[in-house]
Symmetry: C2
Subunit: 249 residues, 2 copies
């Protein structure tokens, strides 16, 4: 499993991705799922991946190397895309091709090669944008009404995002909310695990403000986890007990 | 969609079920999903249902009316079962038969007739037990290590159960935790909605201590919802901001 979330607030983009992969519960490994291209002041393309690792690795290899874009017939890649929207489109095409190729190689089996990706960033000074790319190559864009997108094991960590995050939330507050969302997810699903990769980019910037890995020894994450557990127990304790007594429906 | 949870703590059983059903988002109705049989001091069989309403309604009709049990060849029903375990088994068989019959009627379509059920209660003074019955008729029992079972839209409401509930939790505290779990679920999935049906039964008792419906006008649930939201925001605010600053993975 996997959990990745992208938070696009007024002042910037936060992307968080866990690193646990599993083929069954008896085969668990650590793989980077947050890939960063460019990050050179001109081009920042951050990609978080969920689903078949063979699909997403093959697709990103091809999207980075370049391929003949089906609509223009030109050689294009993440490194030549003029906008982050075009980069998301190219990545979607590469995912679609990789998935189709693998399904062809394994016809008759029921191996699942589906994948979803988050693509965020900014190219050439444009406003930072964030997209969720599906395995068929189509994609949707994150907007201010719901300023986040999730892939993978999304449900455990969604309630805190829905309650706490708005488009006006500060970037570092958004990081904190994202990490609380991870904390809830990792409490309930062992297939999502540390380390967590983190990227922060200010809006319109093509150089990340921060690229950081949060591992098992990270004191802040440990403290956040403890404080959140304690606060939830206190919140629960502060609510009066139900007044319901004998009656009938 | 549906969300139902059964909490089996040392002192008793709590069952909570929402009442929203939907066939697509444009066809939403209210149906009781918590059915109570007996409740007469001798026999208490409480059943919460998720999945195909035509399957669960047909199965409960048959399990209440009685049918030839495939293993004994005798006419048996929820009202004759000597134990809650046998009642769960009979309900499982009835679900399996109902599901198979409906799949036969609609062959070639991709309508999903699967269903899952929670069956809890006590017959003839035995200790209260709680089971999760699958659509194939097999079932599992709730134990003290994880003193709850969920069906339907389970993920949004699972983190609070994992963090707050133990086998030693007081019955009314368990009701409160169950309602917080509903609050999180209903915040994130519109297909789960009020009213919520609630049953409380003390362990070994075959008469419910409380059967109650929590509707939109319920001041306690409204207050719980508000307090929980406020407490989550306060908990989030009380956690310091991340210390991470420029570096590299």
């Amino acid at each position: 499993m996997t959990y990745c979330v992208g938070l696009l607030v007024k002042d910037g983009l936060v992307m968080l991705a866990d690193t646990r992969t599993n083929a069954g519960v008896d085969n668990i490994s650590t793989y980077r799922k947050l890939q960063i291209f460019g990050n050179d002041g001109e081009r920042l393309v951050a990609v978080a991946t969920a689903g078949s690792l063979s699909t997403t690795q093959a697709a990103l290899e091809q999207a980075a190397h370049g391929f003949l874009a089906p609509d223009t017939g030109e050689m294009e890649s993440i490194h030549t895309a003029p906008t982050i929207h075009r980069a998301a489109w190219l990545i979607g095409q590469a995912v679609r091709q990789a998935r189709t190729a693998m399904e062809g190689l394994t016809q008759g089996s029921d191996i699942n090669f589906d994948a979803t990706l988050l693509v965020g960033g900014s190219i050439g000074g444009e406003p930072t944008r964030l997209f969720l790319v599906y395995g068929a190559g189509n994609f949707i864009e994150c907007g201010p009404d719901t300023p986040y997108l999730q892939i993978g094991e999304t449900k455990y960590g969604k309630p805190i995002l829905d309650r706490a995050l708005t488009f006006d939330t500060d970037v570092y507050e958004a990081v904190k909310i994202g990490l609380i969302s991870f904390s809830s997810t990792m409490r309930s699903n062992l297939a999502v695990g540390l380390p967590i990769d983190l990227l922060i980019a200010r809006s319109g910037q093509a150089t990340a403000e921060l690229v950081h890995r949060i591992d098992e020894t990270d004191p802040y994450y440990h403290d956040l986890n403890e404080r959140w557990s304690t606060a939830l127990r206190a919140a629960q304790a502060s609510i009066p007990q139900p007044p319901y007594r004998a009656g009938a429906i």
